[in-house]
Each structure stands twice: as C-alpha cells, then as structure tokens.
C-alpha cells in the first residue's frame, strides 16, 4: 500500500506532555493546542476508492472541524475525486479545492466550478506556505 508521506504530521495532534505535580508524582496531561487558522496542505494523487483517498478526506474533515484552513490539491489519479460528495461537502465548509489542470485535461474532465483548475505552482505554494503539508499517494 502506498504510504502517507509527511515528516511533519505530528504537529496536528494535541500535545501530550508530562508535568510535575505537588506530590512529586508525574502525570500525563493533555494540553490543548490552538489549531485555529493554521494552514494544512493536502496532496491527493490516488483515485477515489483507494484507502489513501479516504485517509486524505478524513484528515481534511478533522482539520476543518478544528478550525484549520485546509488546502487540497488533487493530482494524477486524484483528479477523478474532485466531484466526490465528501470533497464537495468539505469545500462547502471552507476547504480550498484545487485540481491539476493538465491531469484533468488528460482524463477528459470538463472544466467547471467544482474545483479551481490550477498549475503545479500551487503545489509549490502549498509546500512553502502551509504549516503542514501531507501527501496521500
């Protein structure tokens, strides 16, 4: 199975740290992390129906629910997923959905308003300007 590729995904999880308490014992305490307005970039290159497509969608759902700004770019076989009901629902909730224009043209996908048809410069922008970038291949 293709891997979920990112070195920096851990930052999206609530931090768990040990803190000393008066008795001298140590207890694990979950400290809330404010993810509001953080930026998450997602690259999905697998077709709908593949496990990693679903993983990408679920991460986007979770991040949006936490107040994260989510930017999703569908490329390669992932372009077939832009009309997926879940992605369109997430788009309605504020997710920015981009699709590789060349990949769409290659697959005879008609240009419409289901996503922003973009070039690869957008992927570079996401890598450089988001707090986390995760790819599902």
């Amino acid at each position: 199975m293709r891997g979920i590729s990112s070195y920096r995904t851990a930052g999206l999880r609530p931090a768990v740290r040990s803190r000393s308490i008066d008795s001298g014992l140590r207890a694990k305490q979950t400290l809330p992390v404010d993810l509001h307005n953080k930026k998450l970039g997602l690259l999905i290159s697998v077709a709908p129906g593949q496990p990693n497509f679903d993983h990408g969608v679920r991460l986007a759902e979770t991040a949006l629910a936490a107040g994260v700004n989510v930017y999703c770019y569908c490329i390669d076989d992932g372009v077939a997923g832009i009309r997926d009901e879940r992605l369109q629902s997430l788009r309605g909730r504020g997710m920015k959905l981009h699709v590789c224009a060349m990949g769409a043209e290659k697959r005879d996908l008609a240009i419409d308003d289901s996503a922003v048809f973009s070039g690869l410069t957008v992927v570079g922008d996401l890598i450089a300007n988001t707090d986390r970038f995760v790819s599902f291949n």
Partner: protein, 118 residues
C-alpha cells in the same frame, strides 16, 4: 534567514507498467521550477529503468528527459539507489544522475522536510 523546504520524491513504481514515475518527474520539475522548494528525486528498484532504458519503452517516457534536467538545474539531486555499496556519477541516455547507496538515501531523507512517494 528562512530556509526553503526540501522535498524528496521517492519513486519505486515500475515506469514500464505504471504512469506514476513519469507523473512524479513532472510534479517534481513543476515544483522546482518556481524556486519555492529544493526538490530532489530518487529512483529505487524497478523505477531506475526511467534513467537507463529507452523512453518509448515506458509509459509517458518522454517526461523523464523533458523534466528531470530542470531539477538538476535548480540545484536538486537526481539519484538512483544502487544495490552495491558505492557512489559514482553515471550518465545514461542523456539523463545524468548520481548513484547512491542506502546510507546516502537515509541522509537525503533526513534532510528532507517533505517526502513524497510515487
């Protein structure tokens, strides 16, 4: 000074049966072209055929000769993982690349801020 993200593409699909290695080359070059990230690409296993066989034998094989040189021009590394434990610079069919061993691949991976597998 802010440093650029370092993106490593790890390609291990077979370009003779899958379009994904060619798509990886196109995507890597597309990211490198805009200069916002340093992009390197390493071919492993059957994917090394992309550097050593005729493009017409591979799916979207013209992508390799068209896109890979621009990665090198933007200071990225084009590498092939060799089984034998030695380093050398090889040139086959016009695509120059560096042959690296597993240790060198580990070092390349450790320096990367993003790893994309195709």
């Amino acid at each position: 000074m802010e440093t650029k993200p370092a993106v490593l593409f790890l390609v291990d699909s077979d370009p003779r049966t899958s379009h994904r290695p060619a798509e990886a080359a196109r995507l890597a070059a597309g990211i490198a072209a805009w200069g916002q990230a340093t992009v390197s690409i390493c071919f492993c296993g059957p994917a090394t055929a992309a550097l050593s066989e005729w493009p017409e034998d591979m799916i979207d094989g013209n992508h390799f000769e068209r896109h890979l040189p621009s990665i090198a021009e933007s200071s990225g590394i084009i590498a092939a993982l060799e089984v034998r434990d030695s380093s050398s610079v090889a040139k086959r069919d016009g695509i120059e690349h560096k042959s690296i061993n597993a240790t060198e691949l580990s070092e390349l991976s450790a320096k990367a801020t993003q790893l994309l597998r195709f």
